[in-house]
């Protein structure tokens, strides 16, 4: 064909033109492409010969415009959207220019007609709308949640500049450990990366100046912390440097909500004193409504930290740090800066700062890191559900359009243009999408409420979740996009009216059926992916539940009691708790009562290094380490945790007796390997109330290992001390009443009030609920994913059922003929089921492959289960196959029962 071996520019232009010709409809191209290329080539050759390259270039824009406009017009005419133009220039009376009103009326008419068509097939409409509502609703609900937690900017000025600073220990580069005030002061002096470094410490304060003492959640914060976060006062004033000075009077800022709820929002509260933890505090300001410190569920009160650096031990690390990066300083630069400082601090203070390194972490990352995996997994899962829903609807619509082919053909024969029919089909699918979208929005509202209700309270930023405009926009986009998407599939398929009128089974139906098969196969695959994901989480959760906690937390009522500062000194702490426990235990309905400093599954931990007298002094940083727990004498009996060796604490172990300790199995194994630890001594380097090093203690017993934080956390070494030798200001009271534990709560409250009317009990609850709460996240992810998988499974089965039933109905005559010719019902059953198995089989293979690729993303959510656990994959595959078989079996049985005589007579 190519004759011109002319200059490159010519050949390139011709090649580009040839490529451009693909814009024309294939029919036109087949007829004229060769001539078009010839004409174009002739044309540019002449221009080139006459005027050179310039002549050629001048010709190209016109040719390009011609290509674009003419191909578009030809396409519009070929698809029937635009009426073919004739040679005559007659004004065409059939299509007068349409006014806006006419167009609007046309749309209204379309919608009315669409509505009528849908009411004539209510089951179809209902299934489609419900499917869409579920898909859109679930997507929006999850989007709302994920958006609030992960994507919406944190509610602070320039949140991208905010960072947390944690300490990491050698060998644990990503531990989030508290920092110390002395080091923070050095960082602030030496660092060039931050505008300020603030410190804070969580603070629980019992508010007593109101009718019922309230437990307030809050923090003690340094003045720099208020600068870092930009804390302002709505009324009154924020903290100034003078409030944070050593010896400054007690001053607090209250949250707007506390001010409203506890003090009725009176302005004259400012400047007045309130009682917190038994002390007088002046209220200097009210925080902005909704203010909450990062990573905190709520902040009721903040007070100044008033750290006395001259008294601070560099080794004590009991503060959290947040800083604001200077504008333009990157996280990496800040990290390098801090590394330099830490290295110099290490040289200067080797005994306390050995291998201590700061970990600078963006606030956003730090806030969502714990949950981001499950959030994204959730989002992916719900995206899959939406896909299945849309595929289902598309498949239903294709089936319906196929079934309506004759009707559409008649309308076409009566003069409806192709454009008119496409518009009609699009109106119907948009109407469906709109109804589904409205339903979905309602579901999204209820769904996000339900999500909030079952969501673990430990998920940060939950208070910010509400169905918002972003969610609304998202739902609308999904709705309209899905409407156009599945409306266009049936509408754009080429249809031969003549074939349809004859009721022929032409290629159009084969195409539609292939499309539906593809959609159903895809649904099966996606449903299997979700099922396998859910199966892995269920499996993991079951294993978690079967972990032995090492205790019996059932039937125990617990509540935390913190003494105010008027209980000063260890003896008083001890006396109060001893007295209270005795009076509780004396009640007939109480079987046992005990107390513990940090109740298992209630969070919190205290750990420290300890020395073992008689052993050589270990190198700095290599001292044995253990968690420390303070308990009442009968704590182990109460929890049914057995003493394995030696004895339990008893009456001897009081303030006057020699100091004793019990260690757990792990501590014994780790620190006294192959020895009997009973009778050995140890010395804790810290005490819980910062009173300096502890006295030397003799180990009198080894207790069985028990979980402290969660069933999926490793067991750590523990040293237990009797609280009568190691008094602390706050304890969890734990009691085993007869009957239902929660019933005893009012009695406990009144007993505490009797002992001291200014004390509030907080975190009152049944211990097994505390344990349950440590598994909330796993339970939450598992329940949601299981729910999504169930929806996908049901939708997938509807898809299979719909397609097979449709095909059986369509092939009734053929089946009747087969049976008349001697086919048995069994062979018909097999024939129909083979179709199901083929779709399900391909879907299953694809689903397994996709699962193998995807489940590793949820590996971090799994406990003791491999992300490619074959048992789970096999079980879920069988489950899906079973459902698919049933979905196919129902119409298959109908096919097998076809009466040949009736079928052959049928139309």
């Amino acid at each position: 064909m190519s004759r011109s071996r002319g200059p490159l520019a010519l050949r390139a232009s011709v090649a580009a033109y040839r490529l451009g010709l693909t814009l024309y409809p294939s029919e036109f191209r087949a007829r004229f492409a060769g001539d078009l290329v010839e004409a174009f080539t002739d044309d540019i050759e002449v221009r080139y010969a006459l005027r050179g390259l310039r002549g050629l270039l001048l010709q190209l824009p016109g040719a390009a415009r011609d290509l674009l406009t003419q191909s578009l017009r030809e396409r519009l005419e070929a698809s029937g959207i635009k009426r073919p133009t004739g040679s005559s220039n007659h004004p065409r009376p059939k299509s007068p220019p349409r006014s806006v009103t006419q167009m609007f009326n046309g749309i209204l008419q379309d919608l009315r007609f669409a509505f009528r068509m849908l009411t004539r097939a209510p089951a179809f409409a209902l299934v489609v709308v419900a499917t869409l509502a579920i898909g859109i609703g679930a997507t929006t609900a999850v989007f709302t949640t994920v958006n609030a937690i992960a994507f919406r900017p944190l509610p602070f000025p320039s949140p991208e500049e905010l960072v947390f600073i944690w300490y990491t220990e050698a060998g644990r580069p990503h531990g989030r450990n508290a920092v110390g005030a002395a080091n923070v002061a050095d960082w602030e002096a030496m660092s060039e990366s931050f505008t300020a470094i603030g410190m804070f410490r969580p603070w629980r304060a019992t508010l007593a100046s109101v009718d019922i003492p309230q437990s307030l959640l809050g923090a003690r914060v340094s003045h720099d912390y208020t600068l870092v976060l930009g804390i302002q006062a709505l009324y009154g004033r924020p903290f100034g440097p003078e409030d944070d000075a050593v010896g400054a009077p007690n001053r607090v800022m209250l949250s707007y909500e506390t001010w409203q709820q506890q003090f009725g929002g009176t302005r004259d509260l400012l400047g007045r004193h309130i009682r917190l933890n038994g002390e007088e505090w002046e209220v200097i300001g009210i925080l902005d409504p909704g203010f909450s410190m990062p990573r905190r569920a709520r902040t009721d009160v903040i007070s100044a930290l008033r750290v006395d650096l001259s008294l601070t031990n560099r080794g004590s690390r009991n503060l959290n740090a947040m800083a604001r990066l200077r504008p333009g300083v990157s996280l990496e630069a800040a990290r390098a800066d801090m590394r330099r400082i830490d290295e110099s601090l290490e040289t200067e203070y080797p005994e306390t700062n050995l291998s201590m390194r700061a970990w600078v972490r963006g606030l956003h990352e730090d806030t969502i890191s714990d949950v981001s995996v499950s959030l994204y997994a959730l989002f992916a899962a719900v995206g899959f559900v939406l896909l299945v829903a849309l595929a289902n609807v598309a498949s239903l619509l294709v089936a319906r359009t196929t079934a309506r082919e004759e009707e559409l053909a008649i309308r076409a024969a009566l003069g409806a243009g192709r454009a008119r029919i496409i518009r009609q089909l699009l109106s119907e699918s948009l109407l469906l999408a709109a109804l589904g979208g409205v339903g979905g929005l309602f579901l999204a509202y209820w769904g996000s409420q339900a999500l909030l209700a079952v969501a673990p309270s430990s998920i940060p930023r939950l208070s910010e979740v509400s169905v918002d405009y972003a969610a609304l926009a998202f739902a609308s986009v999904v709705t309209i996009a899905s409407g156009l998407f599945f409306g266009s599939i049936p509408a754009l398929r080429k249809r031969s009216s003549a074939a349809s009128l004859r009721g022929g089974r032409g290629t159009t139906r084969l195409g539609a059926e292939r499309l539906r098969r593809l959609l159903v196969t895809g649904q099966v695959a996606v449903a299997l992916v979700l099922l396998i994901g859910a199966g892995l989480l269920i499996n993991s959760f079951t294993r978690l539940l079967n972990e032995d906690p090492g205790m019996q937390p059932d039937g125990i009522l617990a509540a935390r009691l913190a003494l105010g500062s008027e209980y000063d000194g260890s003896e008083e702490h001890q006396a109060f708790f001893v007295d209270l426990l005795e009076r509780i235990e004396a009640r007939p309905e109480i079987d046992e009562a005990g107390a513990v400093f940090l109740m298992p599954f209630a969070g919190g931990s205290v750990s420290g290094s300890f020395g073992i007298p008689g052993r050589p002094e270990p190198a700095p940083g290599e001292e044995p380490n253990s968690y420390v727990q303070v308990i009442s004498n009968n704590y182990f009996d109460l929890l049914r945790t057995p003493i394995l060796r030696g004895r339990n604490f008893d009456q001897r172990d009081d303030w006057t007796g020699s100091r004793v300790a019990i260690i757990n199995e792990t501590a014994a194994r780790m620190h006294w390997p192959d020895q009997n630890p009973i009778g050995k001594t140890l010395r804790l380097h810290i005490t819980l109330d910062d009173q300096g090093p502890d006295l030397e203690r003799t180990i009198i017993g080894v207790v069985a290992d028990a979980r402290q934080w969660a069933l999926d956390r490793d067991i750590e070494p523990f040293i237990y001390a009797p609280f009568r030798q190691y008094p602390v200001g706050s304890m969890y009271l734990m009691l085993r009443p007869q009957g239902t534990p929660a019933d005893f709560a009012p009695t406990l409250r009144s007993m505490v009030k009797e002992a001291d009317p200014e004390l509030a009990l907080y975190r009152m609850g049944v211990m097994s609920d505390f344990l349950g709460r440590t598994m909330e996240r796993q339970r939450f992810s598992m329940l949601l994913l299981t729910g999504f998988a169930a929806i996908a499974l049901i939708l997938g089965c509807i898809g299979i059922y719909g397609l097979i039933a449709f095909n059986v109905a369509r092939r009734t005559r053929e089946i009747g003929l087969r049976m008349a010719l001697g086919a048995s019902s069994e062979s018909v059953l097999v024939l129909v089921l083979r179709e199901t198995s083929r779709m399900a089989g391909i879907g299953i293979v694809v689903g397994i492959l996709v699962s193998l690729a995807l489940t590793r993303f949820i590996a971090s959510m799994l406990h003791e289960v491999s992300a490619t656990d074959t048992t789970t994959i096999a079980t879920m595959t069988l489950l899906l196959a079973g459902f698919a078989l049933v979905a196919g079996l129902i119409p298959a049985r109908r096919a097998a029962q076809v009466d040949p005589a009736i079928a052959l007579r049928s139309d």
Binding site: F32, E38, A39, Q70, S87, S88
Partner: protein, 117 residues
Amino acid sequence: MDLPDANEFVPLKPDVFAVLLVLLDGDAHGYAIMQQAPAQSTGTGQLQAGALYRILKRMLDENLITELERQQVDGAPDKRRRYYRISALGRDVAAAEARRMAELLAFSQTRDLLEKV
């Protein structure tokens, strides 16, 4: 089958009339038509290939022109090119359009338009 009445086609689109005029002079291939069609005929300058072939397609469909078998071309047969020939209907339509325009022109002359331009 009766031929459609030529008068049903008038007024003609200018580019269609131009193609008919070119073909009245003898069979021609696409590029030749592009070359010979008066530039004014389309109102937008020179006829481009895509536009031309869509016109030709339309005219073929309406039997105003016919497509020649490649061997039928007089003289040196150019096998690469497709030639077009005006049909009897095409001639009638072109004549009808010419008559219409002539009448129109004659009428416009009574209004002294051309002198004023």
